[in-house]
Each structure stands twice: as structure tokens, then as C-alpha cells.
């Protein structure tokens, strides 16, 4: 039972991510690429998927998106709750925006 629940949660996360990507890319491709940190190629692939394809991909047992930042600094800045709050989030934004986008290898 627990496994089934886990799988359905993964499916749901996959589905909402794919739907979000598609609607962002279709609204404004350039903005979507910046916001999502995708490469242009990824944006093209994801936006061209049909609903049936999206459903099929979403229902695989693995989460299809992963963390965009694998950098300790970013997480420390984002999680910090000290008085320096706003400046910290700006710092995090700068560090995040300085990183290269995801590309297909």
C-alpha cells in the first residue's frame, strides 16, 4: 500500500511539473527558459510533448525532475532565517542566476 501511495505521489509531481513547463513555454518561451533553468533544447522537447505522452512519462516510477542547485551555498542561503533575511535571498538569487542551465548530455 505504501509503495502504491509513493508511486502515485511521484506521478502527481511529475505531471504537475510537466504541465507547468508546457504552459510556461507556450506562454513565453524566453521567460520560461530563464525561470526554469532549462536549455533551449529541453524547452523544445518538453513543449512538443502531447498530452498522451505527458501522461505516459509522468507515470514512470522515477521522479523526472531533480534539484537544480547542487551547491551547499545556495541551500544555506535559502534556508537561513537570520535578520539579514532579504539580503540573503538576493544573495541566493545572484548565486542561482550565476549557474549554468541544465543541458542534455
Amino acid at each position: 500500500m505504501a509503495t502504491e501511495q509513493l508511486l502515485s505521489e511521484i506521478r502527481e509531481a511529475n505531471l504537475s511539473y510537466l504541465v507547468l513547463v508546457q504552459s510556461l513555454v507556450r506562454q513565453d518561451r524566453a521567460e520560461a527558459v530563464v525561470r526554469l533553468g532549462l536549455s533551449e533544447e529541453m524547452a523544445d522537447i518538453l513543449s512538443s510533448l502531447t498530452m498522451a505522452q505527458i501522461l505516459r512519462i509522468a507515470s514512470s516510477a522515477v521522479p523526472i525532475c531533480r534539484f537544480r542547485f547542487d551547491d551547499r551555498v545556495v541551500w544555506e542561503l535559502l534556508a537561513d532565517e537570520s535578520a539579514q533575511g532579504p539580503m540573503r535571498s538576493i544573495h541566493a538569487s545572484i548565486v542561482m542566476a550565476s549557474q549554468p542551465v541544465e543541458v542534455i548530455q
Partner: protein
Amino acid sequence: MSIGTMGVAAKSINAAAKSKSLVGEAHEVNRAIELIKLGARLQVLESEIDLSRGRLLRLYKEVAGVSPSKGMLPFSTDWFMTWQPNIHSSLFFNLHANVIKAAGTDRVDALIRTYRLYQEQLALCALPEVLSITRAWRLIKFFEVGMLDSARCTRCGGRFVVHKYEPVGNFVCGLCEPPARAGKTRQALDERNLSVSVHANA
């Protein structure tokens, strides 16, 4: 010059203006309006928008409701190096680099897009917009002519705006190592005192 030849000259100018496509002109007008709404100074419009000065002036008055402020634009790169402006400029610069990479768009489009993202970011943090769109435009210009450059902070890995040819071997940004007086402006102090007095009254 006789009145006759002046008339001919005026006619040929009219003809040149008419040969420009209406759609193209409408496009320029729209971009100008967006820039004015974001607070751009007239000099930005004059340099980026393909409309006559007279029309830009009229447009400015119509959209902004006031005459454009006179005087030169600030032209020093030093402003971008002071603590708070440097943080805002660096954020803008990084966003701009991403927008250019993603959209490969033209200058005005990229400027407007990036400025919107910048505004959005600051609204989220409830911080004031230190970098005006005119300054942001200057920033990009300074990069284009090679007066400014970016350096990676050796501690956080973020890219920050620096002077060109500044030694950046072990550069540490102003956020990883804030100067002693950073953020202690009169304004910040006033705000703090205000919140203290509010607490005292409550």
C-alpha cells in the same frame, strides 16, 4: 533659402517618414511606452527607439504625465561598485545574461524582460528598487564597451559586477564579506528606530 525650396525639403522629409512601415512604427511606439512606464529617462528612449525626438517627447508627456527631467545621465562606473548598488547590479547582470542566452532577443526586449524579472525578485524580498531602468541600461552599455566586467566570488560562486582589469584572483563578494558599515544608512537606521518605537508603544 526661398520658401519654395523649404516646401520641397519638408515634403521629402514627409515622404521618408511615410516610407517607414506603420506596423514597425507601432512596434516602436509600444516599446517606448513600456520603457517610459518602467521609468526610463528620455535619453534611453532616444538611443534605443527608432522614433523622432519630437514624437518621443510627446509620448513621454502623454504616458508619464510630466515633462522628462532635464540634465545629463550619470556616467560613472563607480556607482555600480558601491555596496548596495553592486548587489542590485550583479543581480540584474546575471538575470540579463540568462535572458540573452534564452531569448537571443534584441536589446530593448532583453532590457525590459530582465527589468521585470528584477522587479519581481525585489518585490518578493520586499526590498526597494535601487537600480532604475536607466541605470540598468547604462550597466549593460558599460559591459558592451568593456568598462565593466564580472568576477566569480571565490566563496559563494556568484558572479558580481567589477571594474574591467580589476585583479580578481581571490575575489570575495560584498555579500559574503559585507563591509563594516554596509546597510547602515540613515534610512535603514530610521526604519529600525521606527520599528523600535512602534514596539515600545504597543
